[in-house]
């Protein structure tokens, strides 16, 4: 089974993030860079499927030079190879353009499954997997809390507000996983050493056959008008319990007309 995992390098999800004043894009220098946390679950899901059914795992990312660190992280977990789309013209590309770039690269390759994390912890839109499925005309098996493959059929539990839907499709398919799906492994020392020797293909826009008119900040179909830091919340009242904390809250809620 051939699996491609789409990953993204993001600012550390535990750090405070900022927008760059010059062009309203993410200020990537404002925080440490890490492999998007949810993508670790996608890599783990792929590794487990490849271990069970045989096959190989390729990770694909689009991002600046430093994004190769995210590829190395996935390779050190056990992925077999990497593809890095890197080009200055990609700066500021929105979700529509990202899905175009990823889908174009995927369409030129053979695979049984494409696996994403269900969201990136910076943009948090959760739209790229659905967009890629739409562009490729492939079944969409997203928000999976559990992924299984049986012959040529993939089955997932799609997490919903009320519980989950059992959804199935014939391969190839596009999957996204939530963190309920598994427990990502930590790279071993052996894995980290082995990752250094694994192949990483670097592609420019031209190499990938991508149209420069469909990516980049200038081609974004939505524009930031303005942005500002949220004004800090007014400092509230904090009291010690002293045996009457519950009553104090009840009085506050009553004054605010909640009860």
């Amino acid at each position: 089974m051939k699996i491609v995992v789409c990953i993204k390098q993001v600012p550390d999800s535990w750090a405070d993030k900022k927008l760059a004043p010059a062009d309203s894009t993410l200020d990537r220098a404002s925080a440490d860079r890490v492999l998007n946390e949810l993508d670790e679950y996608a890599v783990e899901a792929a590794l487990q499927l490849a271990e069970t059914h045989g096959g190989d795992v390729t990770v694909l990312t689009m991002g600046p030079d430093e994004a190769s660190e995210a590829i190395r992280r996935a390779l050190s977990m056990g992925a077999d190879a990497g593809i890095h789309l890197v080009d200055d013209a990609l700066h500021g590309t929105d979700a529509i353009g990202t899905s175009y770039a990823l889908a174009t690269i995927l369409a030129a390759r053979e695979f049984d499954l494409v696996i994403f994390g269900s969201e990136s912890t910076d943009a948090r839109m959760s739209v790229v997997p659905a967009m890629v499925a739409e562009r490729l005309g492939l079944p969409q098996l997203t928000f999976a809390g559990k992924v299984e493959v049986d012959g040529t059929t993939a089955r997932i539990q799609r997490v919903t507000d009320y519980g989950y839907d059992e959804v199935e499709a014939t391969l190839p398919a596009v999957v996204s996983v939530v963190e309920k799906a598994n427990e990502p492994r930590y790279p071993s020392f052996k894995g980290i050493m082995a990752a250094k020797k694994k192949p990483v293909e670097t592609l420019s826009l031209a190499d990938a056959g991508l149209d420069v008119g469909q990516v980049g900040l200038g081609q974004s179909w939505s524009l930031v008008d303005s942005f500002a830091a949220r004004p800090p919340r007014e400092k509230g009242t904090v009291v010690d319990d002293g045996g009457n904390g519950g009553v104090a809250i009840a009085e506050y809620l009553s004054a605010q007309k909640f009860i």
Partner: protein, 315 residues
């Protein structure tokens, strides 16, 4: 005046509150047209909140596949009626429908809006609520997903004229099949992202059995129950109730955080709540920075006392 499409979010014909919020918002932008996918349309309820027209794709089969058939219906309605904008609830599925629609019809998309102005400038709250962004779709028919609780639903009667549309899903839209729906939500409580009040528990709850105290308070207030990632990762409460960066984002009128320290992971999911009440035994917990009202104390003493107070004040 131009038409604004609103995709109705319903479960087996029961309309979710967010749809009424979207209709309320749409009235300020143009003429609201509700789009209903599946059987059991309730035109009266949609008319009551301002839908001049209700476009109905009355086919149960459209609901047997996730996401894509709803995109097919919306694309057909957009082609037929050329609306000024499309509003969809910013739920996991709503955002995916919007995503596919944006690619399909070649339009820009804005997700997680907390407001939309008359000139279709959307306000978003990003990076866990730390930054407020105003942006606008610059290409095609603007597609905006709006978070539940962005506005209060207000009734305003309109005609609600039913117009049927027959949509055969594209072959590529039916590749994924829903074979079973499993309802795991505990009955009676409002849905987490829609609830006006959310009562959450975190590491301080100490275990699965401790959540009975959280649920007790939630039920007294008619609230939904949420949990921090520490609590869901530990298996104390089901994953779908996780509030935070990797879980649900909620924006209720009132959020009560119990035994939650307030790491950015959690703040990202609840920072835009209108009023925040905190109970935590650690006075240094960062969650107190967000509190409109906070009590430093043991939640197992404070919360039951509060529950009793709420119940007696109601009586």
């Amino acid at each position: 005046m131009a038409e604004i499409l609103v995709l109705v979010d319903h479960v087996d014909g029961s309309i979710k509150k967010v749809t009424l919020e979207l209709l309320t918002l749409a009235r300020g932008l143009g003429v609201p047209v509700a789009v209903w996918v599946g059987p059991g349309v309730d035109t009266a309820a949609l008319a009551e909140y301002g839908a001049e027209t209700v476009v109905v794709a009355d086919s149960a089969d459209l609901l047997n596949h996730p996401v894509a058939p709803k995109t097919d219906v919306l694309a057909a309605v957009v082609a037929e009626r050329a609306p000024a904008a499309v509003l969809i609830a910013s739920t996991a599925e709503g955002k995916e429908i919007a995503a596919r629609l944006a690619v399909r019809i070649g339009s820009g998309i804005i997700t997680d809006a907390v407001d939309v102005d008359a000139d279709l400038v959307a306000t978003q709250s990003v990076f866990g609520g730390a930054t407020v962004v105003r942006s606008k779709v610059s290409h095609g028919v603007p597609i905006v997903t709006v978070r539940p609780n962005a506005t209060s639903p207000e009734a305003s009667a309109a005609s609600g004229t039913r117009v049927d549309i027959s949509v055969t899903p594209a072959a590529s839209s039916t590749g994924a099949r829903i074979t079973n729906r499993v309802v795991a939500t505990k009955g009676g409580r409002p849905e987490l992202t829609e609830a006006s009040i959310v009562v959450s528990g975190g590491r301080g709850v100490g275990g699965a059995e401790g959540f009975a105290v959280i649920e007790g308070l939630a039920d007294s207030l008619g609230a939904a129950v949420g949990a921090s990632r520490a609590a869901t990762d530990a298996g104390w409460y089901p994953h779908q109730f996780q509030v935070g960066q990797t879980g649900k984002t909620v924006s209720p009128q009132l959020y009560v955080a119990n035994g939650i320290s307030g790491a950015i992971q959690h703040r990202a999911g609840m920072q835009t709540s209108k009023t925040i009440v905190v109970v935590n035994k650690d006075p240094e917990a960062p969650i107190f920075e967000l509190a409109d009202f906070g009590v430093v104390g043991d939640l197992f003493a404070v919360v039951p006392q509060l529950t009793e107070q709420v119940n007696s004040r109601k009586g």
